[in-house]
């Protein structure tokens, strides 16, 4: 099978998986008790008013009609209207999603860059004190709760050193209205980004570092590592260009999946730093019974995972010439 057919087939599978995800989410959200009107009893003094609201939201229709309508909306890139904000969900969720992506991407890039280099070095210097201390430090970072790391960073960098702002993403609270460039490309945003991104980076660092170390230990047994040393190449070249380069393959999948999962946002990091992202919104919307928003949040998260898995497969083709598309 050629590369092309392989990619086409994977795209087809991708679509099928996404469709399954949407359907499952739809069913799940109709199964949970309560509806957007049941929470704010006070807002709907009379049953009639409440009924009117339910009809307005289309919740009185038979399930299959709702399903078809929902799917139809999705195909147009719409998630319906938020019961809470009384606005189209897409207008709320996409800017939040973008905030999350920017934060998590930054955190992951730091975590994977540092983690890979550090893990590779730990594997290379196996049995040394450097490796032992490194493993302990990594495990401590991994075992630490996100909020704890966040609070410590805030304490040091905000309250003691006064280097960074405490929370938010900068601007004047009007984050959602500003356009992309104005919102992200400025020094103030960068200052707001550093602490939450660093928190995420510390939390995410352990997986690539430890995995990298383990695969390095395997790869280092391979004959070619010895040959490269016999060739007289500098240790740095053998370590990073050859051994680490080979060890990175299994990490591609993990990184892609981690990215997918992280795009759902970290509820805790976003809460600690008051970051207007999709994770924070997901929790808020669930507690408000605001289905359309919650569904959209879950859907974005699931889609990220699925799409990133797809990306991992395709990346693998390029990184490992031995992979046959089957």
């Amino acid at each position: 099978m050629g590369l092309r057919e392989y990619v086409i087939r994977r795209v087809f599978q991708l679509i099928l998986t996404l469709w399954t995800l949407v359907t499952l989410l739809f069913i799940l959200f109709r199964m949970v008790p309560g509806d957007p009107t049941s929470r704010f009893v006070m807002d709907y003094p009379s049953d009639a008013e409440r009924q009117a609201r339910i009809e307005e939201l289309g919740l009185n229709e038979p399930l299959y009609i709702q399903y078809i309508e929902y799917m139809g909306q999705l195909l147009q890139g719409e998630f319906g209207d938020s019961a809470h904000y009384r606005q189209p969900v897409s207008e709320i969720i996409f800017p939040l999603f973008l905030n999350t992506i920017v934060l998590m991407f930054t955190a992951l890039i730091i975590a994977y860059t540092v983690g890979i280099l550090f893990g590779a070095a730990m594997g290379w210097f196996r049995g040394s004190r450097f490796e032992r201390v490194g493993i302990i430090a990594t495990l401590v970072a991994r075992a630490s709760p996100e909020f704890w790391i966040g609070i410590i960073l805030v304490w040091i960098f905000v309250f003691q050193l006064g280097l960074f702002p405490r929370s938010g993403i900068g601007g004047y609270g009007g984050e959602l209205t500003m356009n992309f460039v104005d919102r992200y490309i400025n020094f103030d945003f960068l200052r707001h980004l550093i602490l939450p991104a660093l928190t995420g980076a510390i939390v995410y660092l352990a997986t690539p570092a430890l995995l990298m170390r383990n695969t390095m230990l395997e790869v280092l047994k391979a004959d070619f590592v010895e040959i490269k040393q016999a060739e007289g190449l500098p240790e740095r070249t053998v370590l990073y260009k050859h051994a680490a380069r080979n060890s990175i393959l299994p990490l591609v999948t993990v990184a892609a999946i981690a990215t997918g999962a992280a795009m759902g946002g970290s509820v805790i990091i976003e809460t600690v730093f008051n970051w207007p992202g999709v994770g924070r919104e997901m929790v808020a919307s669930v507690s408000r019974n605001d289905y359309p928003v919650a569904m959209a949040a879950f859907l974005l998260m699931g889609t990220s995972v699925i799409v990133m898995n797809f990306v991992a497969d395709i990346l693998y083709l390029y990184l490992d010439p031995r992979v046959k598309y089957e």
Partner: protein
């Protein structure tokens, strides 16, 4: 001209039980352009000896004593950096047992050859390096365009040829070939070996050829050194090792590969197992398996003695070689040993 002189080398591995005496008092000389065959059973220290020359050894390896002189340079005194820049690959390259695993799977073979050339010859352009790789492929009987293939796209024999190209790309003065054909199909083993010989002659480099199989080196090597239990028990020019060996272990090895023995076609194996290399104690390490061992052999380590023209033997009874040679061709001699070994094993279990 003498290219390599190893003098009194002791290369041990640290282990929890103490030193593993993998290379013990090794003395070797190699003329430039010549081939030295290093034979011996598994675990006898062949790889350890060869790799000591380029210090390509695990972390727990330790040079206890001795010197390695490569063309006037004391290799054991070089810093890691000097060793990498001056000796490794530029002067001494190697061909591993399994070429398929000797290439990094994520780069093309050509990229890897070009990298080796350009690291040591900064002035060589990428284009020139590629051309050299193509020429080498051509000479080795591989389609030159295949330098752009990945290692897994090669068959075993072809990967081994590509490995030879890598080993020769800097025209080193010494090639360490550690069982270069063992991983291959029997049918092509000989052809690969001939190819190595031909290329070696062309660039006039010396070679240390490691093998279990004494018949392989009997045709290929100028000199043969026989390893047993971390020591070189006998060395001489190939003809002497084949025709007039003096050490009982060499005699036994010859029997085990009957196609080089002259009249007797019986395959006689040497009973017993290789010696323990941690705390082996005094005495000849072959004594427990030697049908000719006497009191002295158990108590005192035999020193290397020369028996004319570079024929060096470590055996207390090397003087009686004619007698031993005759008895060694008899199956009964070794069978008697088999019983003794069995007895000593069962005694040990009591």
């Amino acid at each position: 001209m003498t290219l390599l002189t190893i003098d009194g080398l002791q290369m041990y591995y640290r282990s929890d039980d103490g030193y593993v005496r993998a290379a013990d008092d090794i003395n070797l000389e190699l003329e430039s352009g010549q081939t030295l065959g290093l034979v011996g059973e598994s675990g006898s220290g062949k790889t350890t000896i060869a790799r000591s020359i380029i210090r390509l050894l695990p972390d727990n390896a330790e040079v206890i004593d001795g010197s390695i002189d490569f063309d006037g340079t004391e290799v054991t005194d070089l810093s890691d950096r000097e060793l990498r820049k001056q000796i490794r690959w530029r002067e001494v390259s190697m061909i591993p047992q399994n070429a398929m695993n000797g290439f990094d799977p994520v780069y093309t073979v050509g990229q890897q050859i070009v990298q080796a050339i350009r690291y040591h010859e900064k002035e060589t352009s990428k284009r020139e390096a590629r051309d050299r790789a193509r020429d080498l492929f051509d000479e080795l009987g591989i389609e030159p365009d295949r330098i752009d293939d990945y290692p897994h796209q090669f068959s075993g024999g072809m990967a081994q040829r590509a490995m030879i190209a890598l080993a020769l790309c800097l025209e080193p003065r010494l090639i360490l070939a550690d069982e270069p054909t063992t991983a291959l199909d029997v049918v092509i083993q000989d052809r690969i070996l001939q190819t190595i010989k031909r290329m070696q002659a062309e660039i006039d480099s010396a070679m240390i050829l490691i093998t279990h199989d004494i018949s392989v080196v009997s045709e290929t090597a100028d000199r043969i050194a026989v390893c047993y239990g971390g020591r070189i028990v006998e060395q001489a020019d190939s003809a002497t090792i084949i025709k007039n060996p003096r050490h009982p272990y060499t005699l036994g090895l010859r029997n085990a590969f009957p196609d080089i023995g002259d009249e007797d076609d019986d395959l006689i194996s040497i009973p017993g197992t290789p010696p323990e290399l941690v705390d082996p104690g005094e005495g000849c390490r072959f004594a427990p398996r030697c049908p000719f061992a006497e009191e002295e052999c158990w108590e005192e380590t035999p020193k290397p003695e020369e028996y004319g023209d570079g024929h060096i033997v470590r055996c207390h009874r090397a003087d009686e070689a004619d007698l031993l040679r005759e008895q060694a061709t008899e199956k009964a001699t070794w069978d008697g040993m088999r019983d003794k070994v069995r007895q000593s094993i069962s005694r040990g279990e009591d």
